[in-house]
């Protein structure tokens, strides 16, 4: 049995993280998404540096189920959001946003972003007072040099 703490998407959710003194080639960003009964609509993950859009991609519940090779309507997974063009992450503050179009939250069908308190990629800028304030879970994958 897995217990998840999911923040439902109403209009927008966002998570802020910092890079400092490094340069990375971005492989993907992977938010930890909970799908409850395959809601209709198109969901968009956007990466901003400051106020500048770095890249964004969309997905639907149908595409998510296809990627998971399942017909089930309930799932929790780190969704890899892969940029179409090469992206270099440099020092600065980044924001990942989850938004939607053609989607309406309901208790019976929604998309959520899962909160975790033990996530190596989450740099906290505040002190969470309870689990509801844990950061929205996110994995950031970068390219490294091939093993020589």
């Amino acid at each position: 049995m897995t217990t998840l703490l999911s923040e439902p998407l109403y209009t927008e959710l966002s998570h802020v993280f910092n890079f400092s003194n490094q340069r990375y080639s971005l492989g993907c960003i992977a938010p930890y998404i909970y799908m409850h009964n395959a809601p209709a609509g198109t969901f968009k993950i956007s990466l901003f540096k400051g106020v500048s859009l770095v890249f964004e991609k969309e997905f639907t519940s149908v595409e998510l189920k296809t990627a998971l090779e399942t017909t089930n309507n309930y799932a929790h997974v780190f969704i890899p959001i892969i940029p179409d063009d090469p992206i270099q992450l440099t020092a600065g503050t980044y924001t990942v946003k989850l938004a939607a179009s053609g989607y309406t939250y309901s208790n019976s069908s929604f998309i959520g972003w899962i909160r975790q308190h033990e996530n190596l990629n989450n740099a906290l800028y505040y002190t969470p007072m309870d689990d509801n304030e844990n950061p929205l879970a996110l994995r950031i994958k970068v390219f490294k040099r091939a093993i020589e």
């Binding site: 897995t2 923040e7 309507n73």
Partner: protein, 132 residues
């Protein structure tokens, strides 16, 4: 507002996981609202944390607030030192009998008297719906 999802082993499920958590739904009762204002169906509300805020305008401007817990277990059970059908809120509002909470059948009912005597007062009710 976060949801607690109890998911069976694995990353996908054909059946509905157990989901609990709350939705906050505000309701505003205005001066001229009278009679039955709000009815809460127990099929949607198992437990509600209900808070209220009364703002009066005019010569006297202040905010009064309070909260209580109501749970449904076949019938609505009012906690916080109150009884079913008792005008709970009136104890914190001057010029009583403004808002009454009662049970009609299986539904929890909020009834409002005329607030106009209190000079442009509005009462906000926040019902937090607990799903599970």
């Amino acid at each position: 507002m976060t949801r607690i999802v109890s998911f069976a082993d694995g990353f996908t499920s054909a059946s509905v996981p157990n989901v609990s958590g709350g939705d906050q739904e505000p309701y505003t009762l205005d001066n001229n609202d009278t009679g039955t204002i709000l009815t809460l169906n127990p099929s949607l509300y198992k437990t509600i944390f209900y808070s209220f805020e009364l703002t009066r305008k005019g010569a006297v401007t202040y905010v009064q607030a309070g909260s209580m817990t109501l749970s449904y277990n076949g019938s609505w059970e009012l906690t916080f030192g109150a009884f079913q059908g008792s005008p709970i809120i009136q104890d914190t509002i001057l010029n009583t009998q403004d808002v009454v909470i009662s049970v009609s059948g299986n539904d929890l009912v909020f009834e409002c008297g005329n607030l106009s005597s209190h000079v442009e007062s509005t009462l906000k009710l926040y019902a937090v719906r607990i799903i599970a």
